[in-house]
């Protein structure tokens, strides 16, 4: 087996894999630390099962053969295993694009293809050097008593946007495509099922309950919005001015 130790969200993870691909993929997160929080081991049966799952998900996907290569399937199995064990450390894996401004993170979530990354790109255009990408696809989120911290991971989308940083999460917006930009803050109880849709769901009952509890704790400490947006820079202007809150003006 091929091994390497990597640091994500403050955890040191030993990964034992069959292919070198996942280690090349995670190189930026490699650590020489000897202390290990947990180990991820992948076997061939798990790789095969993931390949079958990927084929079922997207048989018409033009990249399906590439996605179903065993080394790529192994990369995904590693992520799922990290997500399951990270729960023991109060960390959830989320599907969203996270950008930080003034040490506060803003996450955008929606089904794939809706426009999360497109919207976050508008934020980068609007804010330039004031903004930094945390992660464009699968951030890890550490849930603390009174806050949530969004962390970069190597699983940062097709454009590889992200950094090995952790930033307190201020707000999340569930986005949808709209002709006119509109944003509204939503009640946390109503928001919970919307946010639940995009958190990683373990197949184990106990772990899933833990995930739901951690997500609930995250929801309590952030603002949540529904954002209908188009591809104009005004969408980013509206979202930024609303989600940053009134305290931003006071701090300036």
């Amino acid at each position: 087996m091929i091994k390497g130790v990597y640091s994500f969200a403050g955890l040191n993870v030993l990964i034992l894999s069959n292919y070198s691909f996942v280690h090349d993929f995670m190189e930026e997160y490699r650590t020489i630390s000897k202390s290990i929080d947990f180990t991820v081991v992948v076997n061939e049966q798990e790789i095969y099962k993931e390949q079958q799952f990927l084929r079922e998900l997207g048989p018409e996907d033009e990249y399906i053969e590439s996605k179903c290569r065993p080394e790529n399937a192994e990369r995904i199995v590693v992520l799922k295993k990290i997500a399951e064990q990270a729960l023991d450390y109060d960390i959830i894996l989320y599907h969203g694009s996270v950008i930080a401004v003034n040490n506060e993170a803003y996450m955008f979530t929606a089904n794939s293809g809706t426009g999360k990354s497109t919207h976050v790109k508008l934020w980068r255009e609007l804010l330039g050097d004031k903004s930094v990408m945390v992660n464009d696809d699968k951030p890890l989120i550490k849930i603390k008593q009174d806050k949530a911290i969004a962390y970069g991971t190597p699983y940062n989308g097709k454009h590889h946007l992200g950094n090995d940083i952790g930033v307190p999460l201020k707000a999340v917006a569930v986005i949808y495509q709209a002709e006119e930009n509109i944003i509204e803050e939503i009640d946390k109880k109503a928001a919970y099922p919307m946010l639940y849709k995009h958190v990683y769901h373990p197949e184990d009952k106990v772990k899933l309950l833990k995930t739901m509890d951690l997500l609930n704790r995250m929801v309590k400490n952030i603002s949540i919005y529904k954002l209908g947006c188009n591809m104009d820079i005004s969408a980013a202007e509206l979202a930024w001015k609303t989600m940053r809150g009134n305290e931003y003006e006071a701090k300036k």
């Binding site: 919970y192 639940y196 899933l208 309950l209 739901m212």
Partner: protein, 86 residues
């Protein structure tokens, strides 16, 4: 009838959430209030609709006709997402 074993119930501050573990038939989440939570609690064991109504009338000291409507609505909804084992 009873709640299928692969559905889990999560409660927080008066709101009840129900979701399947594997999500083959339904992979979303249902949200309800305290009454919904009480109905799901009854469905932990094999019960009839009448037994649920009786239990809730006692628990909430409520009018039977109102409870019957709530229970019928909840059970119909749960059946529609495949959460009930008959």
């Amino acid at each position: 009838m009873k709640l299928k074993s692969d559905y889990i119930v999560y409660e927080s501050e008066g709101t009840t959430y129900l979701t399947p573990v594997s999500g083959k038939e339904f992979n979303g989440m249902v949200r309800g209030n305290v009454t919904f939570g009480a109905i799901l609690n009854c469905l932990k064991k094999d019960v009839t609709e009448e037994e649920i109504v009786e239990a809730l009338c006692k628990q909430f000291d409520a009018v039977k006709e109102d409870v019957e409507k709530d229970v019928k609505k909840a059970v119909t909804s749960l059946r529609s997402i495949g959460a009930i084992e008959e």
